[in-house]
Amino acid sequence: MAVANIFSGQMAALLRKEFLEAWRDRRALWMAICFSLLFPVLLAGSTIFFVKKHTEETTRLALLGGDSVPVLEQQLRGASLEVDVVAQGEPRALLADGYDLVLQVGEDFVEGYRNFRAPKLYLYVDSSSTSSGRAERHLQERLGSLQQLIVSQRLTARGVAPQLLAPWQLQVRDISTPSSRGALILAMVPGLLILTLFVASLATSVDTSAGERERLSLETLLLQPLPGWQLIVAKTLAVASMGWLGALLAIAALVTLMPLMPLAELGIQQATTVSGVITMGLLLLPLALLVAVVQILLALRSQSFKDAQTQLSILQLAPVTLLMVLDMSRVELGEPFWQLVPLVGQQQWLKGLLVGDTVSLPLVVAGSLVCLMLVGVSVAVGARALRRESLLGAV
């Protein structure tokens, strides 16, 4: 009983110390908060910008020599395409003058058209301009439907049903759902949330390990009647709290910003539910612990505070790069086995929850247990590391 009291009192005191130290570190706290808010804001901002650019912007087309083809001009003009007839001009100068495209009609265009000689239209485009792709698409849409109309009339004139040109009809059936289409935009979010864990806990983990050693306060702590694992656990919890806070903040920011994102215009359903958000927070907790303890272990191994910072900065890129490589190389991660692998599992669950899919509870529990097991192993390794004599820089 007394032993248990001492134990819990010790651990509570230690935890209090680690949390006070972590949360009173303004710099680390701000770094965590800023990074956590940064990516949701960037993601929302870029989506809004992207949609605005694609739906609201109109293309300005200069129809060079267009005075000879008024019907062409009339048929090209549309909601997304603004057409100006330009009698004379130099395409390059017109493009520099604010036009997105210059369509040049030759002098004998009308004559060639009437005689079925397939006269040429010259499209001048500056493909180094960001708007060129959209502009070309706008023009192709209009030009394409006019072309279809002319072909149809020519067939009719010859008594041919236009369906003769379509030996079959291809019907596309998209098996995606409005919510699963969110994966297009939200694909990078799980990786970024995991990165947030790393970044938000980085400063604290360095401070509590390499920092504490460099400030010579670690030695005092090691002189106390405390088993090493308790020290590691207390530090891990404090560090994880910071990383977890960052991730939770990022999730909250993301969910808050989602309604502002014009997802519906992209045919995407905002499918993240309240329970989904809570689940996301919970399933990141074991990972936050693992990230924290691994960071502490690495920082303890390092030569100095600076060295620890460098090592951990590299470490935080590793998992995100790994996840991106896995994503890009289209490695099939559908096997349930993969959900037991830390990082991969969390990424998949987060992805599922973001797009409103159900995730398998047994797999989440199993994957989280694997994660917690690794935390346990790491704590044991850390406790051993505390007994290493080289830990005390002074020797």
Binding site: S68, V69, P70, V71, L72, Q74, Q75, R77, A79, F109, V110, Y113, R114, N115, F116, L149, I150, V151, S152, Q153, R154, L155, T156, A157, R158, G159, V160, A161, P162, Q163, L164, A166, Q169, Q171, V172, R173, D174, I175, S176, T177, P178, L263, A264, E265, G267, I268, Q269, Q270
Partner: protein, 481 residues
């Protein structure tokens, strides 16, 4: 027989979907994922049992779920015909994408149409060459299921719709009706006003309007075409093509009928085209401004002995596969329309038109073989629901007049008239946006400025198609820019 497939044109594509059988409980309707032709995204399909005994069937209900369910009332689409299926309206979802962002769009195939036990009478396999055989086949079809035929009606369709609304748990609904679908919608408004939030009616067939009298309407649409052609500098070059058309129809002979080439095979005279078929074929071309724009040239050529362009125009409508369930068409048309039309009215309607009674005759003889009882409507009562009316200025079957004059009992309506427009305009220009805006704020009056920007497609002027260049000079329509 091209004309037959275009009796009442609505933007349709046939529907080749197999709905996986699913059990529908009393309370919780069970849906399955399915697709409709003309729309790539997955949909939810329900089967809802209606009718009793031998007439019991499962109604096909297809829902395009809102991208984001904002709790707005769903929009139900009602198809035309009568005889077409709402599931054939799936391509309209492309135009209604914005509406679908926040609203479910529900397509109920009415009993006897589409996926709800279509009553087809075998015409989709083979169309008889003459009216007599047509009537005979129809009569046989009727005798096979007289009770089913008798039961099919607007009343039944509205009751089924109400049943679906309740089953899906929709508190209030908005209706979009196209062509004959507007009649169903207007009747629903009469009978279930409290369940309705707003109406969008495209190509309106008011309750009191005898829409099967089409000759005057078709004649007016033809006159609009004449007017617009005359205003176009190059089309005007065809001169008095209208008189040439009258001449052509007046002098149509068996010999000429046998000369008419088939638009698919190119063979001449494989199936002679009698005068009334030709007239209907020309009437059908008026449904679609793109086809109508080719009429002056085609008529001009035909009057000079070249029937190819005219044959080509009839070929334009082949691509829409036969989706009309003729059994349903005749059940409803005979019981609710043909029986209230007198011979005098037919004569008055036909006089002075290019069509004459060519369209009416078909239904008249059909109804002889389809002896369902008359099902008259009572006079419509006043309704204050917000209603958006859409008409094509040159619609050959439901001209703007109908919506303008015969809906006085509706106190809260707005009317969009599409210049040079044909039958059904919901997908054109800014109309889908206006519909979306109307549904979101049905009490506000819409800014209709953009409707005037919708134009006829360019006229065909020669074998090369439309004139792109000046030539003699092309008149610019409207005040664009």
């Amino acid at each position: 027989m091209v004309w037959m497939r275009r009796l009442l044109f609505v933007a349709v594509l046939s529907c080749g979907l197999g709905v996986p059988g699913s059990v529908v409980g009393q309370d919780e309707p069970v849906s399955s994922t399915c697709y409709l032709d003309g729309w790539g995204d997955s949909l939810l399909c329900y089967r809802i049992s209606v009718g009793a005994d031998a007439n019991a069937i499962e109604l096909s209900v297809t829902v395009a779920p809102a991208v984001n369910d904002a709790g707005r009332e769903p929009l139900y689409l009602l198809a035309g015909g009568p005889g077409q299926a709402a599931s054939d309206l799936a391509p309209l979802l492309n135009a209604f994408r914005r509406i679908n962002r926040e609203r479910d769009i529900v397509m109920v195939d009415r009993r006897g149409a589409g996926l709800s036990a279509a009553f087809r009478c075998g015409f989709e396999r083979e169309m008889p060459a003459d009216l007599q055989s047509f009537s005979r086949q129809l009569a046989q079809c009727y005798l096979r299921r007289p009770q089913f035929a008798e039961a099919l009606s607007s009343r039944q369709a509205v009751e089924d719709l109400e049943r679906v609304r309740k089953t899906l748990g929709h508190h209030r609904i908005a209706l979009w009706g196209g062509s004959w679908g507007t009649r169903t919608a207007l009747l629903y408004q009469q009978w279930y006003p409290e369940a309705l939030s707003a109406l969008v009616l495209d190509a309106v067939a008011p309750i009191d309007t005898k829409v099967f009298l089409t000759a005057t309407a078709a004649e007016r649409a033809m006159q609009r075409l004449e007017r617009d052609c005359a205003r176009d500098a190059i089309c005007a070059g065809f001169g008095d093509w209208r008189s040439e058309l009258d001449q052509l129809l007046a002098n149509w002979s068996g010999e000429r009928a046998a000369q008419f080439p088939d638009p698919v095979t190119g063979v001449r005279g494989a199936q002679p085209v009698p005068r009334w078929v030709l007239a209907n074929s020309i009437r059908t071309a008026l449904y679609d401004p793109a086809a109508a724009a080719q009429l002056p040239y085609a008529v001009h050529q035909a009057s000079r002995g070249n029937y190819l362009p005219l044959s080509g125009i009839s070929g334009l409508f082949l691509n829409t596969t036969d989706s009309m369930a003729m059994g349903l068409t005749f059940s409803v048309a005979c019981a609710e329309e043909l029986n209230r039309i007198t011979a005098d009215e037919v004569a008055a309607d036909s006089t002075g038109s290019f069509l004459g009674s060519a369209f009416f005759d078909l239904f008249y003889s059909g109804c002889q073989a389809w002896p369902v009882s008359a099902k008259p409507y009572s006079a419509p009562e006043e309704r204050a629901h917000p209603v958006l009316l859409i008409s094509g200025e040159a619609d050959p079957i439901t001209p703007p007049d109908y919506a303008e004059r015969q809906l006085v009992y509706l106190s809260n309506k707005q009317h969009l008239i599409v210049p040079g427009g044909g039958h059904i305009n919901s997908g054109r220009g800014c109309i889908p946006d206006l519909i979306a805006r109307f549904l979101n704020a049905p009490q506000d009056s819409l800014d209709q400025g953009c409707v005037a920007e919708i134009r006829r497609p360019p006229f065909m002027v020669d074998a090369f198609g439309p004139a792109l260049g000046k030539g003699v000079g092309v008149e610019r329509q409207g005040g664009q820019r």
